[in-house]
Amino acid sequence: MNGQPVPQKTTTPMANVNPSGFWKRSKNFRVAMLYLFPSFLLFSVFVFYPMMKTVYLSFFLTDYEGFPSLFVGLENYAYIFQSESFRKSIIATFIFVLITVPFGVLLALFLALLANEKLKGIGFFRTIFASNMGMSVAASSVIWLFLFHPSIGAFNQFLATFHLPQVEWLLDPSWAIISVSITTIWMNTGFAFLIILGGLQNIDEYLYENANIEGAGYWYQLKRITLPMLSPTMFFIITVSLINAFQTFGQVDILTQGGPAESTNLIVYSIYREAFINYQFGPASAQSVVLFLCILVVTILQFKFGEKKVHYQ
């Protein structure tokens, strides 16, 4: 990038007008680099280098400290895709994503639509709905661990009052993934709610005034004005929720440790276990690459198909 003369735009107030000499003409570039240097250094060390290193490690067997010892080509990939455990992890991850993203976004949308009404005391409700954003993963998980407790947990006590059968929330493999998903939905609603509420408040008041004059009802306005105008926000929050769902770790670590029968062994937890408990850094890196590709594919698909349906103002 430095090899070419940098054309100067004389319209820029701080541009160097003297065109003589490459050194002078590239002044802006050098100054910009000075401002960008901290970010570049950090991104290089903690994002780009480790990403390449992850791909590199995925082709090797390593010693227990993580130093590559034997080149094995694609064998780590072959190994993880043949392993029952990783296949379960992928399935669990997809079930989890398919539960948490749609329900989480719809819940947040519902709450935001309620909280966007101009009613007395609405600020109180907004604060309540947003409050989950301040609850950390660890704190939320511990609270829900208690709620899911087989005997003294609130849910089973609630069921007992109505003489309904007790549920093994975290011990039954088919319930455990649902329980972890519910916890996650609850935890993530705060952020999604705030973003969607912001989106709602950005919609031009004028549009509703016109609709009101014409006598359009609530549902009609919702369908014809609110949802179309909200689509960029929804697009954003769906993308963020998808990416977040793939990155889930804390709730699994505290609620289930990946169990029972690996039914909640979500991909990041699987990577963590493979690398930092089993010291299998090669296969763990291969799993990391799969995680990266999942997120990449989801993001690209989102932008390719989602963007078309989005209505920008």
């Binding site: 990038m1 070419q4 940098v6 820029t12 802006n28 570039f29 100054v31 910009a32 401002y35 960008l36 901290p38 970010s39 991104f43 994002v47 780009f48 480790p50 290193k53 993580g66 519902f110 309620l114 009613l119 409700f125 604060t127 709905f129 947003a130 409050s131 954003m133 301040g134 609850m135 950390s136 660890a138 704190a139 939320s140 511990v142 609270i143 829900w144 208690f146 709620l147 609130a154 006590q157 609603t189 705030l194 973003i195 509420l197 912001g198 926000t233 954003f236 929050i237 793939f246 990155q247 670590d253 990041v268 990577i271 690398a275 763990a284 990391s288 690459v289 995680l291 990266f292 997120i295």
Partner: protein, 271 residues
Amino acid sequence: MMTRGKKWTFYILLMISAVVMFFPTFYAFMVSFMSSEEVMAGKLFPSELTLRNYQDAFDKLPLLHYLMNSFIVSISVTIGQLIVSSLAAYAFVFIQFKGRNALFFLFISTMMIPWEATMIPNFMTIQQFGWINRYFGLTIPFFAMAFGTFLLRQHFKTIPKELQEASQIAGLSRFQFFYKVVLPVSKTSLVTLGAYGFLTTWNMYLWPLLVTNNESVRTVQIGLKQLQAEEIATDWGVVMAGVIVVVIPTLVLLFAGQKQLQKGLTQGAIK
């Protein structure tokens, strides 16, 4: 204008939603005052408001020390992120240079790389630097932030170019323009980003779990896991007292800055 019936429908839905959404937090708060017998009996309210569980939580764990650690780490990351991102955003908005768009794209592309996919080499790097159990390991990797740069860039773009010209005429250098003009007029965005950075860092879980293995710099989130693992069978009241202590700083921050946070984040998300 809203009809009476419609108004009530909204209020009822709001009430139900608030009860459902806030119940876990409220219940945790109640349990934090209960004795273990009361917890076992499945009571909803404690019989007396005693701080005994809180005292126990602080006795059983160096909770105060963990809180200090979390404060140091969160504040360092917040300040680091603000400095690094605002410098980068400034270059992207106020300096014309070749390859600006390409470089900005490179910045944005880092958002596609999930932190968890790179944690293995990052852990090794931190180990090599000798940063395990040091504040450095918990803070410096998070200073550069594409989202923050993006958010600030959006705001910097709204600053009129005339201001830049005027400051040049007034004889301010580029850097003076940055910290005397650009930063002060962007105060709201900086506060939003700062609050967001503080929240996310305070709540961080996986990374502190990896790079701390003793009490020296361990954060309060990991302390909570420790407390839960030790006390789970015996005393839920103490565990919930720990939970409340951990969430109070972020809840206070959120209640104080909710409006601001919402406005700032939406701006970055949509424009």
